[in-house]
């Protein structure tokens, strides 16, 4: 066994810049032998980038890595594997059509003299490995028939069969039930006993406190602190994660809200939505905070009729509305700016004009024929109003910058003059200038009476733009704050589960 004083891994002064963004700035991470080391931080804090550098996916611009006391180069994922560094991704990478044994020993199957697989030997070795780890799985089972938790076990067994000494687990429990989580934690203890170190990334603070020995907190691409877990409280971790940041410039609060516009009652679509209710008023910007996967996007999609729900009602202007498709939602005066601009919002190989008017062609056509003069005039109006920078209306939207692309998607809905607009991550990945313009626009629209629901993972944005803030966690609405009450710490505490809602609020 190694001397517990010498770290198995040291990453020192790691810096990584992407075009326009400093993703990591002089970050240090030390992991001790046989330690479960928690890595926490908000979305975009740099955890994933740091792990990608450790596993050879990215190369650092500056800094160096020492593994087991020796300086190492990790030019690609294969090199990381050879050193004994393995990662279990959130999205599992198993081959569902192959057996447990085949998955574990893929490409390294024990071979006979003619290169044929020695199946008995393969199953024997697999069984031995699984026994050693205390994993109860039959080696011959097809992996596609296993639960997510069991598939994860297969991946862990595979990493261990590659003689990994350091295992990175990225949000390993996000798809697991409570019982499966316990089994995973027992496995982690077994791994520790076998001399393996683990970097454990999770948003769930209770897990961090249950399983980790030490914790490193990251924020805005920087290393904030590393401390033994028993010297910390969940509240302190939240405070370290959120920190104090340079105040962004946000538009002043609005004129105040008007009548109730949209009421959602008990929308239910497990596991991502559990009896969710909310009220949205005309003239207000309602911020919806929560971690990725907390059900925010699922809520937006359910309201807009994209995904069917098991139960729940949507009332608009005091009337029960039947919304079974986006078309129905649009007829009710709704618009949705989706979270994934390129994947769900834009028609990249079509022009600015086509993208802008696609949702209102009915209105812009006669006998099915598009009135191109009006379509162009309408597009030009929005290009000017929103200051969309494009050389021409016939430019492919593909060639625009992120901010201008987002403005095109917003313009598409403004053209329909919706009374309810849902914006999912409206400023993700766009530059500061365009961001401020979009915030100002949202405020103007609300002041003109529109009801706006904004989903955002950026707490400063939620705090800066919203009149009222809701927090979701694991498919439930867990907190509501006024603009005045809300702080980053309080929102984060509810989003991570460090603070729990009163019992009656939890009930459906």
């Amino acid at each position: 066994m190694t001397d517990t004083g010498t770290p198995i891994l040291r990453m020192v002064g790691i810096t990584k810049t992407f075009p326009g963004v400093r993703a990591l700035d002089n970050v240090t991470l030390e992991v001790l032998p046989q330690e479960v080391h928690g890595l926490v931080g908000e979305n975009g804090a740099g955890k994933t980038t740091l792990m990608k550098i450790l596993t050879g996916v990215y190369q650092a611009d500056a800094g160096h890595i020492e593994f087991k006391g020796r300086p190492v180069q990790i030019p690609n994922p294969r090199a990381a594997q050879l050193l004994g560094i393995a990662i279990i991704h959130q999205e599992l990478a198993v081959l569902p059509e192959m057996s447990v044994a085949e998955n574990i020993f893929l490409g390294r199957e024990p071979a006979g003299p003619l290169g044929t697989v020695r199946w008995d030997e393969l199953y024997r070795q697999t069984q031995a490995l699984l026994d050693r780890l205390g994993i109860d799985l039959p080696p011959r089972t097809r992996v596609g028939n296993l639960t997510i938790a069991q598939q994860q076990m297969v991946e862990i067994a595979k990493a261990l069969s590659l003689e990994a000494d350091l295992l990175v687990m990225d949000e390993p429990t996000s798809a697991l039930t409570e019982r499966e989580t316990e089994i995973l934690f027992r496995l982690i203890e077994t791994l520790k006993a076998h001399g393996v170190s683990i970097i454990y990334i999770s948003h769930r603070l209770e897990e961090i406190f249950q399983i980790c020995d030490r914790v490193t907190v990251m924020r805005d691409g920087q290393h904030i602190d590393t401390r033994p877990i028993d010297q910390l409280t969940p509240q302190e971790v939240v405070r370290l994660m959120v920190g104090r940041r340079i105040k962004d410039i946000y538009p002043p609060p609005g004129k105040g809200r008007g009548p109730l516009k949209l009421e959602v009652r008990g929308l239910h679509r497990p596991p991502r939505l559990r009896h969710v209710s909310l009220k949205l008023y005309s003239g207000e910007i309602l911020g919806l905070a929560g971690l990725v996967g907390s059900g925010r996007t699922d809520l937006a999609r359910a309201i807009f009729g994209v995904d069917p729900v098991e139960a729940g009602e949507i009332w608009i202007d005091g009337q029960l509305a039947t919304i079974r498709s986006p078309d129905d939602a649009m007829a009710q005066g709704m618009g949705l700016v989706p979270e994934d601009r390129k994947g769900q919002g834009l028609f990249l190989q079509m022009t600015v004009r086509q993208n802008t008017v696609i949702a209102r062609l009915k209105e812009l056509s006669r006998w099915g024929f598009i009135d191109f003069r009006r379509a162009e005039a309408e597009t030009r109006r929005f290009v000017e109003e929103l200051d969309i920078r494009t050389p021409s209306l016939e430019q492919l939207v593909h060639n625009l910058s992120g901010g201008n692309q987002q403005k095109v998607v917003i313009a598409r809905w403004l053209g329909r003059a919706p009374s309810i607009l849902i914006l999912d991550e409206p400023t993700r990945g766009i530059d500061v200038g365009a961001k401020a313009e979009i915030h100002t626009l949202m405020r103007q629209l609300a002041d003109d009476g529109m009801a706006i629901l904004m989903i955002s993972s950026e707490l400063p944005e939620v705090l800066g733009v919203s009149d009222r803030i809701l927090v979701m966690r694991e498919g439930r609405m867990v907190a509501e704050f006024s603009r005045e009450e809300a702080t980053q710490d309080r929102i984060m505490a509810y989003a991570t589960g460090a603070a729990q809602p009163a019992q009656e609020e939890l009930a459906p």
Partner: protein, 308 residues
């Protein structure tokens, strides 16, 4: 981006350049090539493939495929010819044939759109079953001897222009208008570009998918009418592998197999290249043993030029 770089010119006009080069080469090799009768002959020969290719363009634009057009052509031809022989009025018989084509297309569309079966599989099933139905219907025999009025569809002329060319012209113009000038056309491009986004702007993508397959079936039936009228005979084995020529024309014309990009202008050129190639190989008396090999090589070459 330089709009006038060699690469972008080739990409935009490559297929037109290939076509012109091919015509120049053939006119140098054969003095019969650039004569009016030969040109009319080429146009007449591409009408069948051209009409089918219009439907195929729609299908490929929404990132689907229709392998069944040749079989649909055969079955609708047989049914129409049988109706004619049973003494039904010509317009009614034609209408029944076209309606059957549309119906078979709609079946392809519904199975693909509603039941999420890949169109490759759906239309492969239709290819086999429609062909089987055609063989069963006639017990494998052709139906010959059709009324003169119907045969005019294949052999008639209006102001010196052969009727089939006229019909194909109308199909292309209408097809182009729908694609470039109407809401439906815009939706077809949107669905091909990004079906997820299309759904989120309220487009009923299942309905448009079904409609597109319906149009492909309808046009296959129309092409079948012309072929039957020209040959004065409907054959259950007609149209074998016609889907391949149609797909070749569409792809040569620059329509992307992944959907959303391309159009009928390119398809027209693609159909012309294939037609001129067939014609040239005939004129040059190249043995039919070499014909397919040469044709394949030229198509591959043309594709290479305008992909780069």
């Amino acid at each position: 981006m330089n709009r006038y770089s060699l690469g972008s010119i080739l990409q935009r006009f490559g297929i037109a350049i290939s076509f012109v080069l091919l015509c120049v080469a053939l006119s140098l090799l054969s003095d019969r090539f650039l004569t009016l009768p030969n040109i009319v002959n080429v146009l007449r020969q591409i009408t069948i493939n051209g009409i089918i290719a219009v439907g195929m363009t729609y299908v490929i634009l929404i990132a689907e495929i229709d392998l069944s057009v040749g079989s649909v052509l055969a079955l609708t031809s047989i049914v129409t010819a049988d109706m004619l022989q049973k003494g039904l009025p010509i317009p009614l018989a034609i209408l029944i044939g076209l309606a059957l084509g549309a119906l078979l297309g709609a079946v392809n569309g519904v199975i693909t759109a509603k039941f999420r079966v890949p169109s490759f599989i759906t239309t492969l099933g239709m290819l086999t079953s429609a062909r089987g139905a055609a063989l069963l219907y006639t017990e494998g025999r052709p139906i010959t001897g059709l009324p003169d009025g119907f045969r005019a569809l294949g052999r008639g002329e209006v102001a010196g222009i052969p009727a089939p060319v006229l019909i194909a012209g109308v199909v292309f113009v209408l097809g182009w208008l729908i694609l470039k000038r109407t809401q439906a056309g815009e939706y077809i491009y949107a669905i091909g570009n990004n079906p997820t986004a299309a759904r989120l702007v309220g487009i009923s993508i299942d309905r448009y998918r079904t409609l597109v397959f319906l149009v492909a079936g309808l046009l296959a039936a129309l092409a079948g009418m012309i072929l039957t009228a020209r040959l004065n005979s409907a054959q259950p084995t007609a149209g074998v592998a016609f889907e391949l020529d149609a797909i070749a024309a569409v792809v040569l014309g620059g329509t992307s197999f992944s959907g959303g990009v391309g159009g009928l202008g390119g398809t027209l050129l693609g159909a012309l290249i294939i037609g001129v190639l067939d014609n040239g190989l005939n004129l040059l008396n190249i043995s039919s043993l070499y014909e397919q090999l040469v044709k394949g090589a030229v198509i591959a070459l043309a594709l290479l030029i305008h992909r780069k």
